[in-house]
């Protein structure tokens, strides 16, 4: 492979020489070089020799011919001159083709750096991108290069040369692409290789892990290559003369041959490339490939951004459809993070969207509820499937008072075609569903779990309490003493009081009684303080105390709410009303007061203790029959008389328990008609309280 490459490079050089022999302009430019060479060889400038040499070069002679040609001018130094001349020519060429040449140089240098092995590994590592072009080269070579490079270049036809040139430039371009491909700042893998993928052999695949290692290698090498390239560039830049004209000549030659130079070169280039347009008006290069020209960019920032966005969008749209399918090396799992963030905009929902969703949810919930009900019923009665339930449930709903043909529970066992009307009650065996199976329906635990055993607290007598206290304190004291004895804790300081200070601190007390007394008093105060603090710490906070009180008042109604219903004949007195409301509120009772002529019903719900208190309020504490204030009776005597006749009183209609509260906060409701009152109760599912109260009052009035 390397050999082939070397050969190729030589071919390129030769072709360049050949090309040079054809161009007059280039010869003109070579002239100073040759003059210089002549001067160097001969020691003086000799125009004839120069022209002769130029001629030789211009005609494309090789060394031997040139030597023959120049012999008459230079005699014995001819060979040396010719060598020099050709060297110079070559040098000039190399500097002219700074870019393409640098590529080649780089390649060589790379080879020097990595050696042959590395080259091979590089080749294999770059399988995805590189191997194929290489193979291509191998295949193409026999066609492109008709003969060995040592043969006379004059034998090459123009067409052949052109082909060679094309091949060479393509190769160069590819190299560049590969490098730019891997180099970090411009990761745009798709655009440059757009024309290549068709030729990739499918069978040539490698293991992913291998590929990864290869890839890493390749990246590493590419990085190094990039470094080298940079160094070369720098070196070249040090020789401005070389880049100056020779470069231009080479480029011009390239353009003349209709080959678009690599884009990077465009930057250093001052002359515009020839614009070739195809029939659709797109810019194309000589091979007919479409190329992107640098567009004139808008100068305003906003416009720039707009254009960029446009381009980005374009890319987004086009790229995937273009090559993602066709590229076998495209990994769909790897997402390409777009460099530009999507602009967030408002997304407005369509009108009625959520309504629809809600509707759907509601219907679904309804359905579920229905199903749950059915299953619940099935579970309770012990019938499993809903079909079975449907079998035993009444087929049609009967209206109140309607008498069915047959009771539904009977119809269930009667087979079809059973003659009911006939008075034949003969013994029959063909009933449906009569078996000797005994059902064990699922058992439901009762709503109120009274299983918990009632434990009575242990109450101690005063004596026992004292004994217990004594014992516990003694034990605590013993423990303390033990700890002190074992040295686990420091002994407490002697407890001194005013009364025992002489005994405890005898010496000191005698010496400085005032001081000792102060000390004793301080200790006493400290003790007192500690005691009080301990008490305060034990105390509930104001909130806790309040919560405790409320908790006690609210009681536990998880095991059923206690309800009582009272009937009051006359509840017109606002003072009484207030008493009812205030007490109910204080006792955390809920309920309702319905005011209707002489049937005023008070329903209260809550815990048993609160009920007890409320009952006492209603039946004993409030004096219902006491005369209302005289101011009321002044204006209408008649009503007053009536009310006197019917002494006001309150009676307990019912008290019992229910599962839940059915009323909210205590409210007063004025109901002019019985129906209204009943409706009000029915709304809370408690119409039977009203019924009972009303009928009791009716009964009372008839008595």
């Amino acid at each position: 492979m390397n050999y082939i490459i070397e050969g190729k490079i030589q071919i390129i050089e030769v072709s360049l020489l050949v090309k040079m022999s054809l161009s007059k302009r280039e010869l003109d430019e070579l002239k100073p070089w040759i003059e210089k060479t002549v001067k160097r060889v001969l020691g003086f400038s000799e125009p004839t020799v120069v022209t002769a040499a130029l001629n030789c070069v211009g005609k494309g002679m090789d060394k031997k011919k040139a030597a023959d040609h120049l012999k008459p001018f230079l005699d014995d130094s001819t060979l040396r001159f010719v060598d020099k001349l050709f060297e110079a020519v070559e040098e000039g060429r190399s500097s002219r083709h700074s870019k393409s040449n640098s590529d080649r140089n780089r390649k060589r240098e790379l080879k020097d750096v990595f050696g042959d092995d590395s080259e091979i590994s590089k080749e294999s590592s770059g399988v995805k991108k590189r191997r194929i072009p290489r193979f291509e080269e191998v295949e193409e070579e026999p066609e492109v290069i008709p003969g060995p490079p040592s043969e006379s270049p004059g034998m090459l036809t123009k067409l052949q040369i052109k082909q060679m040139m094309e091949a060479a430039t393509r190769q160069i371009e590819e190299r560049k692409k590969q490098l730019s491909f891997i180099s970090p700042p411009a990761p745009q893998p798709k655009t440059p290789s757009s024309s290549q993928p068709e030729r990739l052999p499918i069978g040539n695949t490698i293991q992913p892990s291998q590929a990864a290692t290869f890839m890493n290698d390749a990246i590493e090498k590419a990085r190094k290559a990039a470094e080298l390239q940079a160094r070369i560039q720098a070196q070249l830049a040090l020789k401005p003369g070389l880049i100056g004209n020779a470069n231009m000549v080479g480029l011009a030659n390239l353009h003349a041959m209709g080959i678009a130079p690599p884009k990077v070169e465009l930057k250093d280039q001052t002359k515009p490339t020839p614009l070739i347009l195809d029939e659709q008006g797109r810019t194309v290069d000589a091979t007919g490939k479409e190329i992107e020209l640098t567009h004139r960019m808008p100068t305003l920032k906003a416009n720039i951004r707009a254009v960029k966005r446009e381009q980005f969008k374009q890319q987004l749209k086009e790229k995937p459809s273009e090559d993602m399918e066709s590229n076998t090396y495209f990994d769909p799992r790897v997402s390409i993070a777009s460099s530009q963030r999507q602009k967030r905009t408002f997304k407005f929902h369509d009108k009625g969207k959520f309504e629809k969703i809600a509707q759907r949810l509601r219907t679904k919930a309804q359905l579920e509820k229905l199903q749950a009900e059915i299953s619940q019923a099935a579970r309770k009665t012990g019938i499993h499937t809903s079909t079975k339930l449907a079998l035993i449930t009444p087929k049609k709903e009967l209206k109140e008072g309607e008498i069915p043909e047959i009771e539904w529970w009977d119809s269930y066992i009667i087979p079809n075609g059973f003659d009911l009307t006939a008075g034949v009650y003969s013994k029959r065996d063909n009933y449906f569903g009569i078996t000797n199976l005994v059902e064990h329906p699922a058992q439901l635990s009762p709503p109120v779990d009274s299983d918990t055993p009632v434990t009575l607290g242990v109450y101690l007598t005063k004596k026992e309490q004292k004994k217990l206290r004594r014992q516990t304190r003694r034990e605590a004291q013993k423990e303390l003493q033990e700890k002190v004895r074992l040295g686990l804790m420091p002994p407490p300081e002697p407890k001194v009081r005013i009364s025992n200070l002489m005994r405890v601190l005898g010496t000191e007390a005698v010496q400085d009684p005032t001081k000792v007394e102060a000390h004793v008093r301080a200790q006493m105060a400290k003790r007192q303080k500690a005691h009080e603090e301990a008490n305060a710490a034990r105390k509930l906070t104001a909130e806790q105390r309040k919560a405790k009180k409320v908790k006690k008042l609210k009681e536990d109604i998880s095991q059923g709410v206690h309800i009582s219903v009272y009937r009051v004949r006359n509840l017109g007195n606002p003072a009484k009303k207030f008493k009812i409301e205030a007490n109910a509120g204080q006792l955390y009772l809920t309920g309702v007061v319905v005011l209707h002529k002489d049937v005023n019903v008070v329903v209260v719900e809550g815990g048993p203790k609160a009920q007890k208190k409320f009952k006492r309020l209603m039946l004993h504490r409030i004096k219902w029959d006491e005369q209302t204030s005289s101011t009321k009776g002044d204006d209408d005597d008649e009503s007053d008389e009536e009310s006197v006749k019917k002494t006001n009183k309150c009676s307990l209609v019912w008290e019992g328990t229910a599962k839940d509260r059915s009323f909210g906060e205590m409210k007063f409701k004025q109901c002019p008609t019985e129906n209204m009152a009943r409706e009000h109760f029915k709304k809370h599912g408690a119409e039977h309280y009203w019924d009972l109260a009303l009928s009791e009052s009716v009964l009372e009035s008839t008595d």
Binding site: I406, I413, L437, E439, P446, L652, H688, L699
Partner: protein
């Protein structure tokens, strides 16, 4: 130790602890001390200083005793093993001591815990606890007191939770087992199937007949019906205590009219059952056989009507689970029905008189075939004891009410539970079918009575009936035009049947009303009470 008398130690040796008037330095010394720590009491010195060896040593060295001689000696001692020179290893006393201290403190804590643990004084219970903890229940020579102490010590180590946990686990497993129960079936005896077929054949014609009668009754013009109803209500309004009789010296738990309304059977907690002639309330028979509280005594549906006196006319049950069958001639039971292990609350005859239903506190109710003389059905389904049972007038259904606050209606032909009466908060103590065939009334411990419609399969009305638990409910047996409820608030009440408004309160008992009955002709109402009397109520005007 040296805690209380610390100052004494500090005073120089040879000087008495108490201040003496003699030498001058002594008071000064104490004075100095006091001035040193003027605001605190004399501090305690935890160590005693005996002086240093340094001086002696220095003297010795000065004498020249050290040097070679000493070194040699040391060497010899090392060789002899009398002097051990370690290679710099250090035994940290501090750590060791604090560890030991922690141990001691933990022990103190444990002892404190042990003191606070309450251990049963019952030796067998102590043993049970030890067994539960996996400890030997007794050691050699160990008495109850030591055992108790041992248990206390063990508990102080493992914590009292250990015992509670095991108890809880037991309960939980029991509960989950129960809750896990799903509907399942088992095959009963073949006699069950034959009995069911028999019931089907018995009930279907009755049902058709009943429906026909209902249709006929419906054809009666509305006005006539209402007038009839009003008449009835009027008579009911005039109900009054007609007679009161002390039945026994213990509370009377149940009363039941004979089908011909001439006899009243009462059951008493004394274990005696008595038959009284009605309406004169004279004792006819005393049935001796039960030893404990008799729960119920009921007449065979055909007794005193078509049944022979020697036949089985009565059935009774008691709290010890005994069920006895009686005839009208002898004082002794004719037969015993055995098989109940727990209290039997109620017995009830099937309308055909062939079957007897009993409710038991073992969460089941049973159906006995008296012809075959065997238990044909042992029906479970309640999660607590079953209290009351009633049969549908056709004989096709049975309704049971249980302590689990639920009622169930069973189809006797198919064995299925066809309706689940859910709504009461507390135990159901009474259940009764209306003669119209589709109403069921249940009386419960939540002081309410609920009326259920079998046809609509729901509760149609809740009567806030009493101010204490409702012990019994009964429909008027002929047409079901009124409903009678009795309760522990010492009253029985009469309610119109459709409408459920109160008609009359039968107040007069001084104790809880335990049982009630309406004679089959609808004329008499009997209530029996905790106050050991039973009362008959009759409309005055008639």
């Amino acid at each position: 130790m040296a805690s209380s008398r610390a100052p004494a130690v500090r005073v120089a040796p040879g000087r008495a602890p108490l201040p003496q008037p003699g030498p001058a330095p002594s008071p000064r010394a104490t004075k100095n001390k006091l001035s040193e720590d003027s605001d605190a009491p004399p501090p305690k010195r935890s160590h005693i200083f005996y002086g240093s060896l340094e001086e002696k040593e220095r003297e010795r060295i000065a004498k020249g005793e050290s040097g070679l001689l000493g070194r040699e000696r040391v060497k010899a001692a090392i060789e002899a093993g009398n002097i051990n020179i370690t290679s710099g290893e250090v035994f940290d006393l501090e750590d060791h001591i604090s560890e030991r201290q922690a141990e001691v403190l933990a022990e103190f804590e444990r002892r404190k815990r042990a003191r606070q643990i309450n251990v049963s004084t019952d030796d067998s219970e102590v043993k049970a606890c030890l067994r539960a903890l996996g400890e030997p229940i007794t050691l050699f020579g160990e008495g109850p007191a030591e055992r108790r102490e041992r248990l206390r010590n063990i508990l102080s180590v493992v914590g009292t939770d250990a015992l509670e946990k095991t108890k809880k686990d037991d309960e939980k497993s029991k509960k989950s087992k129960e809750e896990y129960q799903q509907t399942w079936y088992h095959e009963g005896p073949n006699s069950l199937k034959t009995a069911r077929l028999w019931i089907a054949n018995y009930s279907l014609p009755r049902a058709t007949k009943r429906l026909e009668e209902a249709r006929l009754y419906k054809e009666i013009p509305e006005a006539t019906r209402t007038s009839q109803k009003q008449e009835l209500h009027k008579s009911l309004r005039s109900l009054n205590n007609f007679c009161s009789q002390i039945g026994d010296d213990r509370p009377i738990s149940y009363c039941h009219f004979s089908p011909n309304s001439k006899l009243l059977a009462t059951a008493c907690w004394s274990g005696l059952c008595k038959l009284w002639s009605v309406p004169d309330c004279s004792l006819v028979h005393t049935l001796r056989g039960h030893n404990t509280n008799v729960g119920a005594i009921v007449f065979h549906p055909q007794a005193t009507v078509s049944l022979d006196k020697k036949d089985i006319n009565l059935a009774s049950c008691a709290a010890d689970g005994s069920v006895k069958l009686w005839n009208l001639e002898s004082d002794e039971p004719v037969a015993d029905i055995e098989g109940h292990t727990m209290r039997v609350a109620r017995v009830m005859w099937h309308p055909s008189g062939r079957f007897l239903g009993t409710t038991c506190y073992d969460h089941s109710w049973r159906l006995w075939d008296l012809q075959a003389q065997e238990e044909i059905l042992h029906q479970e389904g309640h999660s607590k004891g079953v209290y009351d049972i009633a049969f549908h007038i056709d004989g096709s259904l049975a309704g049971t009410g249980g302590m689990d606050a639920f009622g169930r209606v069973w189809d006797l032909r198919t064995g299925r539970c066809i309706m689940f009466l859910e709504g009461h908060l507390k135990e159901i103590y009474g259940i009764n079918f209306s003669p119209n065939g589709y109403h069921i009334a249940t009386g419960s411990g939540d002081n309410t009575c609920k009326v259920w419609d079998l046809r609509q399969r729901k509760c149609v009305y809740t009567i806030p009936a009493h101010q204490n638990l409702v012990t019994g409910v009964k429909f008027e047996p002929t047409h079901g035009n009124f409903l009678l409820t009795g309760a522990y608030d010492n009253t029985a009440k009469i309610w119109t049947h459709p409408g459920w408004s109160p008609l009359k309160t039968l107040a007069g008992h001084e104790g809880k009303v335990m049982g009630l009955d309406i004679s089959s002709d609808g004329q008499l109402i009997a209530t029996c009470s905790y106050d050991r009397t039973f009362k008959l109520w009759m409309a005055e005007s008639l």
